[in-house]
């Protein structure tokens, strides 16, 4: 199975690898997956508390090339988006953008889960209710 050029690009030049201060009030952290499943994604967002706009996003991923590319792409898309816009990102958008084959769709699902987990972590820090998952995987 050959990788698409976009997956190779994100794998070779990952965007926004790094760590934000997870203790900060305006940083949301989502850690999803498990080492024994072969995928762990950590996605972090830094939010402007007055505008609710995501100022910065960082990731670290343990996983295959498609998992790394999915999270790299997610951070690229998150920057500059409002929380509501970020919640609208669907895993199938990632599948389409990266031309992921069916066997790699779970990588995009994990990225969507990571986005939601990061947003919920931020919401809880802000004293808001976490948003219930729309669908279960």
């Amino acid at each position: 199975m050959a990788y698409s050029n976009k997956v190779i690009d994100h794998y070779s030049n990952p965007r926004n690898v790094g760590t934000l201060d997870k203790a900060a009030q305006n940083v949301g952290t989502g850690l999803v997956g498990a080492p024994e499943c072969g995928d762990v994604m950590r996605l972090q967002i830094e939010v402007d508390e007055t505008t609710n706009i995501i100022k910065d996003a960082k990731f670290k991923t343990f996983g295959c090339g498609s998992a790394i590319a999915s999270s790299s792409l997610a951070t690229e898309w998150l920057k500059g988006k409002s929380i509501d816009e970020a919640l609208a990102i669907d895993n199938m958008d990632i599948v389409e953008e990266l031309s992921l084959p069916p066997v790699k769709i779970h990588c995009s699902v994990l990225a969507e889960d990571a986005i939601r987990a990061a947003i919920n972590d931020y919401r809880v820090k802000q004293g808001l209710e976490p948003i219930a998952a729309e669908k279960s995987h």
């Binding site: 024994e36 072969g38 996983g63 998992a67 889960d113 987990a117």
Partner: protein, 403 residues
Amino acid sequence: MKTPIYLDNNATTRMDPRVLEAMLPYFTEHFGNAASRNHAFGWAAEEAVDYAREQIAHLIGADAREIIFTSGATESDNLAIKGVADMYARKGDHIITVTTEHKAVLDTCRALEKQGKRVTYLEVDDDGLINLQELEAALTPQTILVTVMLANNETGVIQPMKEISALTHKAGALLFSDATQAVGKIPVNVEEYGIDLMAFSGHKMYGPKGVGALYVRRKNPRVKVTAQMDGGGHERGMRSGTLNVPGIVGLGKAAELARLEMAGEIARLRKLRDKLETELMKVEETKLNGHPEHRLPHVSNISFKHVEGEGLMMGIKDLAVSSGSACTSASLEPSYVLKAMHINDDAAHSSIRFGLGRFTTEEEIDYAIRHVKEAVGKLREMSPIWEMYQEGVDLNTVVWASH
């Protein structure tokens, strides 16, 4: 040096040009059917097949009449196990095998279980070796066959065949071994090991794909298998079908080359493998999978913790290797062989198998060492669990969000 570099010689090997040269005349010039008894075309083919049988028998310490040609090791495994189960059905219905066997053996045993046979699956220790006391305890008067692979395809671990044979024979059962990874690579002698049936194939020993053999003992005891395919009664009635003459000639030539060059190759490959392994094990948080000594000299299976195997393979795209990671298979389950050796799922996901071969050079090994180290470093910088490990978080205590 040409890239990509091939370090996946347990999957298949490049055919030796000398093998191809030996085969070529048997496609066009000597194209006869080895079963045609009444003309020169048939005689030439039969003579070539007989010669190949001698070459192969010589490699494994057998008699030429004990070699049955097949399409490969999977067919040989099926023929041996199902053939013995059928032939010896009146003696018993019990088979003993091991959890780390190849799928061609395990799935054949499963198929027999569905037909009412009983199968015991022996477990292995952390190094991949079976426990001889457990084997002894599992043997019963109804046991007709013990099937244990000589060397494992994922780890290269070599089982103690002599001891296994002694226990098996004491209990009155036959010993079958899938020796696909060992024949042509290390000395394998059916008399010395006390093996009654043995499977191997051409393409794992620098020969052609689509041809293999089953050794079936003729003396002490005389072993028979029931044919699994009906037809013209070729190969002493055990395997019907027109013989693949060019393939058989190739397997014969490959066997001869392996026999003549084995001693030098073992020493050369062991040195290269040890260099690769020593250098890569200097990287922190690595683990060697499989017994360090009881192992093929050209295989190394290493887990690079906190880095996922398929992701790592993408980072070393100039190196053709294989991984126990689930991501390399459709099943999303990591290697059952490593799991059977009590290796954690996450370490199995992080494993890479390096398989050296006849055409591997020192320059290629140096290149591999450099690139693997570089890729592991890069991916760990990107790995959240590497960061957690470095912060002293015990990963076993983390409650992971399932998905």
